[in-house]
């Protein structure tokens, strides 16, 4: 096949950030008209950078991008859009304080014959457009009036409406429900039949097999290969993504779980009738050393709220927390840290990393606050600490002086984990520790959690992914609407049982 038949051909693309971080190394990508291509890889594989190069957010260092056989060199997303490349990003990047219709037509508003904006047409068109997506909403309301899922659909609708040859969907489904995903796939298939080329970035492998035609895999900034979806078994795909055999990885963690001894350790923390202000109600919880306790529930069910109260972030309204049998009063997270508690928060970017500080500083931070400002950790100690955890957790970085914001999501998460492990905690609370992280690192983190518990640490584990919870947790508390609705342990834990309780069935 000659180049002129390809809609998009990217070849020999390289991109480095500074001297140390090579994000893309001689990568290629091809896309046909009427094709849905899955772009896959671990976090830090270079997917996002490749997309950014294509959409003009970043400039490539070397390489050629041919669109319809002509070389393009977009310097901004606007330029990329003008040549027909439309993008929907993982995080909604619309204006929350403008109306839905304004958001859809911003920058290309239809004008009436007096040259002013034709609001009637904008609103009517927007409504019409969203109907195609089965969204019947009031388009004159502000965007932030609607849920993130709906906002995401609006972003997709906007991208599709722009006259595009290529549509890039960068993890669009992470906040969508099953029905919405289905709708999205229908639209993708329709666009494909109209001849559009679609690049689909996702972490959900099931979706890859449901909707895509071909798969391009990247690993560590390098091109691994492109394959027809129908001809590549899932296990092989995972192997190509992580560069090792996933099946064996999965097994090792599962067997670990079964080998965990059943005897109870010393009781560590107990919550009785704890209520937050406007959040969790009458919460009871006990956890012992060496135990992994899962908090299950849908988003907003009170999982995060529980640990936030336990860590002194949100105030406790009533009830009692006992730590090693003595009452615990938390005013600041520092009070909890000094007791031996630690907490990896849900939003890595806003609540976890200190982006402009180095990896070393990010790792030493919690230990330093625990020691107090007058007992400064020396540079040498900090360096040793950082080197130790970079090695122990296999954090991929040239050295500890790199700014943490330059790392991939999975490695950032490992740094945050290192930050807490450095304080030598007795209780580790993990809120969505593997969100947005590739399978390889995910399995690594799960293994770390299980190992830590074996060494006697108590772990509270929160995740939206049920099979991850099943893999890690020995006991599970299920929440619904800020209330505790059930508890499962040992053999009782199964996907069906948890889902039944989450959805509102009885706990038996």
């Amino acid at each position: 096949m000659g180049n002129e038949n390809k809609l998009l051909k990217m070849s020999n693309i390289s991109k480095a950030f500074g001297k140390a971080v090579i994000a893309l190394d001689d990568v290629e990508l091809e896309l046909d008209r009427g094709e849905i291509l899955a772009l896959l890889g671990e976090n830090g594989a270079g997917k996002s950078t490749l997309i950014k190069v294509l959409t003009g957010v970043e400039e490539r260092d070397t390489g050629v991008v041919l669109l319809d056989g002509k070389e393009i060199h977009p310097k901004s997303t606007q330029e990329a859009q003008n040549v027909g490349i439309s993008t929907v990003y993982q995080e909604v990047n619309l204006c929350p304080n403008l109306s839905v219709a304004e958001n859809i037509y911003i920058g290309r508003e239809p004008k009436n014959r007096f040259g002013s904006i034709d609001w009637k047409k904008i609103n009517a068109d927007a409504k019409e457009l969203l109907k195609k997506f089965d969204l019947d909403i009031n388009v004159t309301k502000n965007l932030d009036h609607y849920s993130v899922a709906i906002q995401q659909m609006i972003a997709i609708a906007r991208a599709c409406d722009i006259d595009a040859k290529i549509l890039i969907l960068d993890e669009p489904t992470s906040s969508l429900s099953t029905a919405e995903v289905k709708k999205l796939f229908e639209i993708m298939r329709k666009l494909r039949s109209e001849g559009m080329g679609i690049i689909f970035v996702t972490h959900f492998l099931d979706q890859v097999y449901e909707v895509t035609d071909r798969i391009t895999v990247l690993r560590n900034g390098q091109y691994v290969g492109s394959y027809l979806t129908a001809e590549l078994p899932k296990v092989e795909l995972v192997g190509k993504m992580i560069g090792k055999d996933y099946a064996s990885l999965g097994e090792s963690t599962v067997t670990k779980k079964d080998s965990v001894s059943r005897e109870e350790g010393e009781e560590l923390i107990e919550l009785s009738n704890v209520s937050g202000s406007g959040t969790i109600q009458n919460f009871n919880l006990k956890i012992s050393k060496g135990e992994v306790l899962g908090l299950s529930g849908l988003l907003g069910s009170g999982r995060s709220e529980t640990v936030r109260v336990m860590f002194g972030i949100d105030p406790m309204q009533k009830g009692e927390i006992r730590y090693k049998k003595s009452p615990l009063h938390l005013k600041y997270p520092l009070d909890a840290i000094r007791k031996g508690m630690s907490f990896c928060p849900e939003n890595r970017k806003t609540e976890g990393i200190i982006g402009d500080l180095s990896i070393r500083e990010n790792i030493m931070l919690a230990l330093q606050t625990k020691k107090g400002i007058f007992r400064k950790i020396t540079n040498k100690e900090a360096q040793e600490l950082a080197d130790e955890y970079i090695k122990k957790l296999d954090i991929k970085t040239p050295d500890a002086d790199q700014l943490i914001k330059n790392l991939s999501g999975g490695n950032q998460q490992k740094v945050i984990l290192a930050r807490w492990l450095a304080t030598n905690p007795e209780l580790l609370m993990l809120d969505e520790p593997t969100r947005g992280i590739d399978i390889g690192t995910k399995a690594e983190i799960q293994k770390i959690v299980i190992d830590l518990a074996e060494q006697g640490m108590a772990v509270i584990f929160i995740s939206s992914e049920l099979d991850e919870m099943l893999r890690c947790c020995r006991r599970m508390i299920v929440l619904r609407d800020m209330k505790q609705v059930g508890e499962l342990s040992g053999k009782e834990i199964s996907e069906e049982a948890v889902m039944r309780i989450m959805a509102g069935g009885e706990s038996k």
């Binding site: 400039e59 860590f311 972030i313 600041y332 997270p333 520092l334 840290i337 907490f343 928060p345 806003t350 609540e351 976890g352 990393i353 200190i354 982006g355 402009d356 500080l357 500083e361 030493m364 931070l365 919690a366 330093q368 606050t369 625990k370 020691k371 107090g372 400002i373 007058f374 007992r375 400064k376 950790i377 930050r419």
Partner: protein, 346 residues
């Protein structure tokens, strides 16, 4: 040798010091060496360079406190007004207009003035840290009200003092060097040691980069803010004492007028990120000396004073450009396109 220079040139304090030295050198050349002439009169060192340090001491002290405030991502525009309050209180006490029971004791006047500065700082800190008002608005309250408070203390008059002990704060000499220099070294030195020999500096940078994540990592962000605004207030009070001792009286309308902008400028020249994060107090000191150096050299060269503002504005533009990522990119892409052009020619 080369590597040492390389290492130094990466340090935040390198370029501000180089610029300061260039300003001095420029003056020296234009004045044919006159600028560097030092004379010893009565065992006291006099000269233009000494003037820069003496007159710049207020600004250096303010800039040191301001560096920390800016590193949190905040700002303190009330320092000039706090200077006026501190001067008004000290002079009124020395002149026995208020608290006559103290008998015009200079030591007591200084202590009470500094306590007033601490109170002002605490007020700013409470508004910012506890009530969560935006720093520029919170400190604007004292910027506006401060001079009013100072005038209430002095009954709206310019209070002149006759006290050699009080004059000493600005005009005194120890070991041939002006006294303000010693105040500066003591205060700013203590601050530098405090930020770098304890973990305070790191935690401050962390708060400046990401206050929420810092809170989650166990830093008591509101205490930290409270402390920093208090230090800024206390430092401003000391600067106010030096100023009023220099003019031998308290002028509530003009003491420290617009100096908050110079202090912010000094920090910016030093390269501390105004949005919060990494900071360097030594670099801010160099920045303050640059600002003062421009003023002194304009006066020394006999150029009309109006040029000072124009020069400062030019300086601001240069700094903004040197810190702007867009501007750097422009340069880079020109270089790249030049290279590309060269490749094509081949």
């Amino acid at each position: 040798m080369k590597t040492i220079l390389n290492k130094w040139s990466k340090n935040q304090v390198f370029w501000p010091i180089v610029i300061f030295l260039i300003i001095l050198l420029f003056n020296g050349i234009v004045s044919k060496g006159e600028f560097f002439r030092m004379s010893i009169v009565d065992g006291h060192l006099y000269g233009r360079v000494i003037d820069i340090f003496r007159n710049g001491s207020k600004l250096v002290i303010l800039a040191a406190g301001m560096t920390m405030v800016l590193a949190t991502g905040g700002t303190d525009i009330s320092v000039g007004s706090v200077m006026a309050i501190s001067g008004a209180i000290a002079c009124s006490i020395v002149d026995q207009r208020i608290l006559p029971g103290l008998g015009g004791n200079v030591g007591a006047a200084v202590i009470i003035a500094v306590i007033a500065g601490i109170a002002c700082g605490l007020w700013n800190g409470l508004l910012v840290a506890k009530i969560k008002i935006q720093p520029i608005v919170a400190t604007m309250i004292l910027l506006v009200a401060g001079r009013g408070i100072a005038q209430l203390i002095t009954n709206g008059k310019i209070v002149t003092v006759t006290s050699d002990a009080y004059y000493f704060i600005n005009g005194g000499y120890i070991l041939g060097l002006p006294f303000p220099l010693f105040i500066l070294i003591f205060l700013v030195g203590a601050l530098i040691l405090f930020t770098r020999k304890t973990a305070f500096g790191l935690l401050l940078e962390s708060v400046g980069c990401n206050p929420l994540a810092s809170k989650f990592a166990g830093i008591k962000v509101d205490f930290m803010l409270l402390g920093i605004y208090t230090i800024s207030g206390a430092f401003a009070a000391v600067a106010g004492l030096i100023e009023s001792a220099g003019i031998k009286g308290a002028d509530c309308n003009n003491a420290g007028l617009n100096i908050e902008m110079d202090a912010i400028l000094a920090v910016a020249i030093g390269g501390t990120n105004i949005m919060g994060g990494r900071f360097s107090i030594p670099a801010s000191i160099a920045g303050a000396l640059i600002v003062q150096g421009i003023t002194t050299s304009v006066l020394a060269l006999g150029v009309p004073a109006a040029y000072i503002r124009v020069l400062k504005a030019t300086l601001i533009i240069v700094i903004c450009l040197s810190q702007s990522g867009k501007f750097k990119e422009l340069f880079k892409s020109r270089k790249v396109s030049n290279q590309r052009g060269a490749v094509k020619e081949q």
